[in-house]
């Protein structure tokens, strides 16, 4: 594939955002909407520069990122472990499967009041909420991956008289790996979404969610648009990063 052919889908993906910014600019230029309701793109860009230069913005981004990663680092591995247990052990699946499914039925934000009682509205409460959010998709996908080991492979394992540990290392875990990786990728995205939620609903602290609250309180729409754009961009980056890591981790595919 030539460089121009590779660039084409990317360019097409940029078309709609650029068009939207154009419409936004056009509306702002008519002065029909007051700038404090809808500031022009130029004003928002200026705010972004200002935040980067003089403000706390770098620190806010860093605070949100480290919160997201801390929650992910706790919730995702725990979810993978729990999911594998559910998928690999029939007894564990029967014992813990129903209560996990019940847990999933509760909307995640419904846990916020309880978590803030237990862990407080500070850093611990926020990370606990992010970890809980990351836990669910990591569990579901690992569980599914581990439970769906093809019967022919299990038969092969028996024919080779593999012991439990060998079966786990040679057959079960590699077979579950695509599910595990999907779980980790999804958990990363969920952790990022939960970070903003935690920052919005729990105590004010440095972070992008905190800046959104600040924008609302001070009626600074330009700040809110800046924070939202950065959130979206970083979220997109997380998704891409996860997908790339997933492809990289399965060397036996697509050769």
């Amino acid at each position: 594939m030539s460089a121009s052919a590779r660039a084409r889908p990317i360019l097409m993906g940029l078309l709609v955002p650029v068009l939207l910014i154009g419409i936004w600019q056009a509306i702002a230029a008519t002065h029909l909407v007051a700038p404090y309701i809808l500031p022009s793109p130029a004003l928002v860009l200026a705010r972004f520069r200002g935040e980067l230069d003089g403000g706390t913005f770098g620190g806010d981004v860093l605070a949100s990122l480290s919160r997201a990663l801390a929650g992910f680092a706790i919730g995702a591995p725990a979810g993978v472990g729990f999911g594998l247990l559910l998928g690999l052990s029939r007894v564990a699946g029967r014992l813990f499967g129903p209560i996990f499914l019940a847990y999933r039925q509760v909307a995640l934000f419904a846990w916020v009041p309880l978590l803030s009682m237990w862990f407080g509205g500070g850093e611990a409460g926020k990370v606990a909420f992010i970890a809980m959010t990351a836990f669910a998709p990591a569990t579901v996908n690992s569980w599914r991956g581990a439970a769906a080991i093809p019967a022919p492979y299990r038969e092969l394992s028996r024919a080779l008289t593999l012991r439990r540990l060998d079966h786990l290392l040679l057959v079960a875990l590699p077979s579950a790996l695509p599910g595990i990786l999907t779980g980790l990728r999804t958990a990363l995205i969920y952790a990022w979404l939960a970070t903003v939620g935690a920052e919005l609903f729990l105590d004010i602290a440095p972070g992008l969610g905190g800046r959104l609250n600040e924008g609302r309180d001070k009626f600074e729409v330009d700040l809110m648009i800046v924070a939202l754009t950065v959130l979206a961009t970083l979220g997109l980056a997380f998704g891409q990063l996860g997908a790339a890591a997933e492809r990289r981790s399965i060397p036996w595919r697509n050769r």
Binding site: L156, R158, A159, T161, R163, L170, R253, N254, R255
Partner: protein, 263 residues
């Protein structure tokens, strides 16, 4: 089959029924024969005659059946390293390389690492794939994958090589080439082989003795000794006569292609 002086493997009045959607389906009825050490036995029959089911019983994957399958006089209870299996689908683990797949069969061998490495290399060479040791299964053709599977089945030096339509999924040219290979490999290893196939030509080409099964329920129609003086010329009159005889037994007179397409 009482005339066999030292039968290594005895199939003694074996029957097997499956429950399919609440109905009893009889897959095998009163199957009795024995296999002598060093013999190459083929089991032929149309699909649905229970021939693969029979092989699963011998492998020890299924112990819920009537009658008895005995190895050296002892009932088979579970799979063992004395029996190597090649499935119709090569069933290589896609996340292990060719040598990794062969080495997986040595996990229970108790051999030291260096010895295992040597055995893996030796058996990949036996099937002509010494240059593909580090290839992923996805990079191998169907024929090459099946060669790896044959190496995996033989690497423990099993007394019995069980072949469950091992060439059934390959194209005609590859199949012919691998039949030659299989004959050479089994002779070289000196293993006792049990081949399940629907390809009568393949059975006549490879086997010393052919168990012909008929379906509904699967039972023995005939047992044919292949006495071609070691001359396995696929177009020799004696070869063709024997083949037609077996096709007759299967009810497919002078239409050799019909067997292949019926499966």
């Amino acid at each position: 089959m009482t005339h066999a002086p030292r039968a290594a493997l005895e199939i003694d009045r074996v029957g097997k029924t499956f429950d399919v959607a609440g109905r009893h389906v009889e897959a095998l009825r009163d199957i009795s024969f024995s296999v002598r050490t060093g013999e190459f036995v083929a089991i032929v029959g149309a699909s649905g005659c229970g021939k693969s089911t029979l092989l699963r019983l011998i492998l020890g994957l299924d112990t819920d059946y009537a009658g008895e399958v005995r190895l050296d006089g002892r009932r088979i209870e579970r799979p063992g390293l004395d029996r190597g299996i090649v499935f119709q689908d090569h069933r290589l683990l896609p996340w292990l390389t060719a040598e990794g797949n062969v080495a997986a069969a040595l996990r229970r061998s108790g051999l030291p690492k260096a010895e295992r490495r040597r055995l893996v290399a030796q058996h990949l060479e036996l099937v002509g794939l010494e240059n593909f040791a580090t290839a992923w299964p996805a990079q191998l053709s169907g024929g090459m994958s099946q060669r790896v599977a044959i190496a995996r089945a033989l690497v423990n030096r099993p007394r019995f090589l069980l072949l469950d339509e091992p060439l059934g999924a390959l194209d005609a040219l590859t199949r012919l080439r691998l039949q030659d290979e299989l004959a050479r490999i089994v002779r070289h290893e000196g293993t006792t082989a049990l081949l399940v196939t629907h390809d009568v030509d393949e059975a006549v080409f490879l086997a010393d003795r052919i168990i012909v099964l008929q379906p509904d329920p699967g039972r023995i129609a005939r047992i044919v000794e292949v006495d071609l003086d070691g001359q396995r010329d696929r177009s020799a009159p004696a070869f063709l006569r024997l083949r037609d005889e077996i096709l007759d037994t299967l009810g497919v007179r002078h239409a050799p292609r019909a067997i292949a397409t019926a499966a």
